[in-house]
């Protein structure tokens, strides 16, 4: 067992320096705990399930030069032609994709027609055959039937004229949304209200389907509507194919579409994997920066410990020599410096925990971050203890090699 009393009395004579080291360890510990937590948050975000067959989808968005009058007819012709391309399994015209840049369509949802404030803002997926093309897993109920779909353009015109009798009246929701709206209840058969109290009955529940963006509004709060889109509405052709066929299918599909109408410009052409990769690029960059900061912090702190310990060893050569002359072994000297570092690190870690908690509170208020889970504290402590011990090892070994004869020499 190491005697702590002599360590304390030595440190008391180097109070300011010791406190500075404690402060440095505390700050490092606090920042590292929060930075690791932030990295965890980013990784979690990048790992969110989209619910779609990610490696099997490609997207093509087109713009047309000059007005097109027959958008619906043209979309149907395009779809028929795309289905004939070898390798194409399914095609649909869909307004948006999960976790991808581009616009997003959302709607306020209420649980009763009289309700004043929307319960939440959910994203709205449109497009005939969207679920089966995207490969979204249906948990309960059924998908829309062909006869249930209405054309987007017709719906807009009807709403504008106040003619509500031909509007669709069914909707499919994600499991996450169902549990948020009707906790503990059967979602099938429930009704939601949008706009001026327009009712939609839930006929199906799907497992996962992420929103395109605004993930802080609930990453899985998505709805699917029986609304038929055309590419003129800003929607995209989404093609399902085998993963290895994506590049060739994308190429031949674009060629086919240009051949059908040369007056079109390709706005977006990408695989879903690329779209998702791009969407989370900022998170990936931020995680990288955080890793860099953690590495730099730990390095600076470790070097600081090495520097200070070297100084102290140099300063106490005579004392060490005397101790050695009086019978202390090399191991005793080594352990003395290790214990001293452990003591300082422990003080630093204790303050660091409090500071880490404070920083987390600040981040919770200003950046909508969740509370720091308790697991980060022991892990942060362990990291700093290990770094401290590694950093002090070199100077401590040099101290242990001080020969006893030093005691007999005058300084």
């Amino acid at each position: 067992m190491i005697e702590l009393r002599p360590i304390f009395s030595t440190l008391r004579r180097h109070k300011t320096t010791a406190w500075l080291l404690v402060l440095e360890i505390a700050l490092t510990c606090a920042i590292v705990c929060n930075a690791v937590f932030l990295i965890g948050q980013r990784l979690q975000r990048m790992d969110l399930p989209s619910g779609v067959a990610e490696h099997e989808l490609v997207q093509i968005q087109l713009g047309r030069i000059g007005k097109s009058t027959e958008a619906m007819a043209q979309s149907q012709t395009d779809l028929a032609a795309l289905r004939l391309i070898p390798g194409v399994k399914q095609v649909a015209v869909i307004n948006q994709l999960p976790f991808s840049d581009g616009g997003a369509s959302n709607s306020g949802i209420r649980l009763s027609p009289q309700q004043q404030q929307d319960t939440l803002e959910a994203t709205t997926y449109y497009g005939e055959g969207a679920l089966s093309t995207l490969g979204v897993r249906l948990l309960e109920g059924r998908d829309f039937q062909h006869g249930e779909y209405a054309d987007f353009g017709t719906i807009i015109a009807d709403l504008h004229n106040g003619d509500l009798k031909n509007l669709p009246s069914t909707i499919i929701v994600t499991q996450a949304l169902a549990q948020r709206l009707w906790p503990g209840q059967e979602a099938l058969g429930q009704t939601i209200y949008v706009g001026k109290g327009l009712p939609f009955r839930v006929i199906g529940v799907v497992a996962d389907l992420g929103r395109p963006n605004d993930l802080n509004q609930g990453p899985e709060y998505s709805t699917v509507w029986p609304i038929r889109m055309t590419v003129a509405d800003g929607s995209s052709y989404v093609i399902r194919t085998a993963p290895q066929d994506r590049a060739t299918v994308l190429q031949s599909a674009v060629a086919k579409l240009k051949q059908l109408d040369p007056n079109r410009v390709v706005l977006v052409k990408r695989t879903y994997d690329d779209a998702r990769h791009e969407f989370f690029a900022n998170d990936r960059a931020m995680a990288g920066i955080l890793v860099g900061v953690i590495a730099a912090l730990l390095t600076v702190t470790a070097l600081g410990i090495v520097g200070l310990a070297s100084f102290w060893v140099g300063q106490r050569r005579r004392t060490i020599g005397v101790r050695r002359a009086l019978g202390a072994t090399r191991g005793d000297i080594l352990r003395y410096f290790q214990a001293e570092n452990f003591l300082l690190a422990s003080f630093g870690i204790a303050f660091g925990m409090v500071l880490a908690y404070g920083i987390n509170l600040f981040l919770m208020v200003h950046y909508e971050l969740p509370r720091l889970p308790g697991i980060y504290f022991p892990v942060g402590a362990a990291v700093l203890w290990v770094i401290g011990q590694l950093a002090v090892l070199g100077p401590a070994m040099r101290a242990a090699n001080v020969p006893p004869v030093v005691a007999t020499r005058s300084a």
Partner: protein, 435 residues
């Protein structure tokens, strides 16, 4: 005296090369990280139109139905409906005004080596150019007459001019947009306000609008609207809503040259809202806001959270580096108690010792600062390679350069202060005796 201290400092620093390097490196890393993030923050939170932004205002009104309205809590809408935008524009109550929205147009270059492409565009009324003080390289903007006549005229950016016409004075040339012929009336000079304050719906930074056409013309031709559409009630109109639909999708800016005019304009907005409520168009009591450019950017929290977080992180890092340097310097100065004791005994005053030690820490700071500057330049280069939309804007400007040096010098002097003060407390006699 300073020269002598400087010489002493260099000798002392040379005696302990590894330690000196460590202190310099710590300061350089801290300064480099802080300056990189501070520069990005400075660029992103800057004034997009210095000198003008104070008198440019963004009127907000609330044309929604009464459902969901909480007095004093509900913010008015962030954009305008077509009807309100037109009403306010035609009222001409401000010194200048413009109604606008974003879009994209298909460009078919005459130059057959270029394929047709889509270009981000702005559909606006003529007030845009004089109100925002847009500089012209060639030609000029259009006037009210062209707005009224739904004229096929276009203003283009110099970048777009280079791409499509190969640069030069392109006024009078014909440009094919969405299959129609437009006459180029102006080429904009070097003008790229950041943040893109007048429309934050697409990108907040580094928006590249190549083509400007009259709002009236864009509506005639059904040019694609690109930006946010927010509808209420049974509204909903896809990306380009009908002019009568209950949707907001236009931005309306006014120039008001004095605070009293701004107050009067706010009064006008209140009266307008009350009048529209009386007519039955608005369901809510007057709910208006009139923010100037910087207030508008602030309200929209335009600086990304990540950037503020990174700045905080970098300063935390700088703090650790400084504490580290203070600790090392203290240990070093205290170790030289003997030498300092001799100097004291030979007649040097405490303040002389203090000055000598501060010069030593100042040298460390200066070298660290230079290293920090170098690291900041590398850091900014790395930022520019990031995927963020603001990335290309990350450049060091003279102001930030000056701040870097002051920060480095200040930080290291601060770091030297405590160790120097502690070290000059030595009692000369004691030091001499112990040896």
């Amino acid at each position: 005296m300073f020269g002598y201290y400087f010489d002493l400092a260099l000798r002392s620093l040379k005696r302990n090369k590894a330690l000196t390097a460590l202190m310099v490196l710590a300061i350089a890393l801290g300064i480099g990280a802080s300056m990189t993030t501070l520069t990005v923050l400075h660029v992103l939170s800057g004034d997009p139109l210095p000198g003008r932004s104070g008198s440019l205002y963004y009127p907000q009104i609330d044309p929604r139905e009464s459902q969901g309205y909480l007095p004093g809590k509900t913010d008015p809408m962030d954009q305008m409906t077509w009807i309100d935008g037109m009403n306010l524009l035609q009222a001409k109550r401000a010194d200048q005004q413009a109604l606008m929205t974003g879009g994209s147009v298909a460009v078919q270059p005459d130059n057959s080596t270029l394929d047709p492409f889509y270009q981000t565009a702005r559909y606006t009324t003529s007030g845009f150019f004089p109100m925002f003080g847009v500089p012209f390289e060639y030609g000029h903007g259009w006037g009210d007459a062209e707005d009224d006549a739904h004229a096929r005229v276009a203003v283009i950016s110099s970048q777009f001019n280079d791409k499509v016409f190969g640069g030069g004075d392109s006024t009078g040339k014909t440009l094919r947009l969405d299959g129609e012929a437009f006459r180029v009336v102006g080429v904009i000079g070097d003008w790229n306000p950041n943040p893109h304050f007048y429309d934050l719906n697409r990108k907040s930074y580094n928006e590249n609008e190549g083509v400007f056409v009259p709002l009236s013309t864009s509506q005639d031709l059904g040019m694609i609207h690109d930006g946010s559409v927010n509808c209420w009630g049974n509204g909903g109109g896809g990306n380009t809503p009908d002019h009568n639909s209950p949707c907001v999708w236009l931005q309306f800016w006014v120039q008001l040259d004095s605070p009293s005019k701004a107050a009067a304009y706010k009064e006008f907005l209140v009266n307008y809202s009350a009048q529209q409520k009386a007519l039955g168009r608005f369901g809510r009591p007057p709910n208006v806001q009139l923010r100037n450019v910087m207030q508008w950017l602030d309200y929209n929290m335009v600086v990304p959270d990540d950037v503020r977080l990174q700045t905080g992180l970098a300063f935390g890092f700088l703090l650790v580096c400084l504490v580290n340097t203070v600790g090392l310097m203290l240990a070093k100065f205290l170790r030289r108690a003997g030498e300092l004791g001799v100097r004291r005994a030979l007649g040097a005053s405490r303040s002389a010792l203090f000055a000598q030690l501060l010069v030593e820490s100042g040298v460390v700071g200066l070298v660290g600062g230079m290293g920090g500057l170098l690291l900041a330049l590398i850091g900014l280069w790395l930022v520019r390679r990031q995927p963020a939309e603001y990335a290309p804007l990350a450049h060091l400007d003279p102001v930030m350069l000056l701040i870097t040096f002051l920060l480095a010098l200040g930080a290291s002097l601060l770091a030297g202060l405590l160790p120097a003060w502690r070290a000059c407390q030595v009692t000369p006699a004691l030091q001499l005796k112990s040896n």
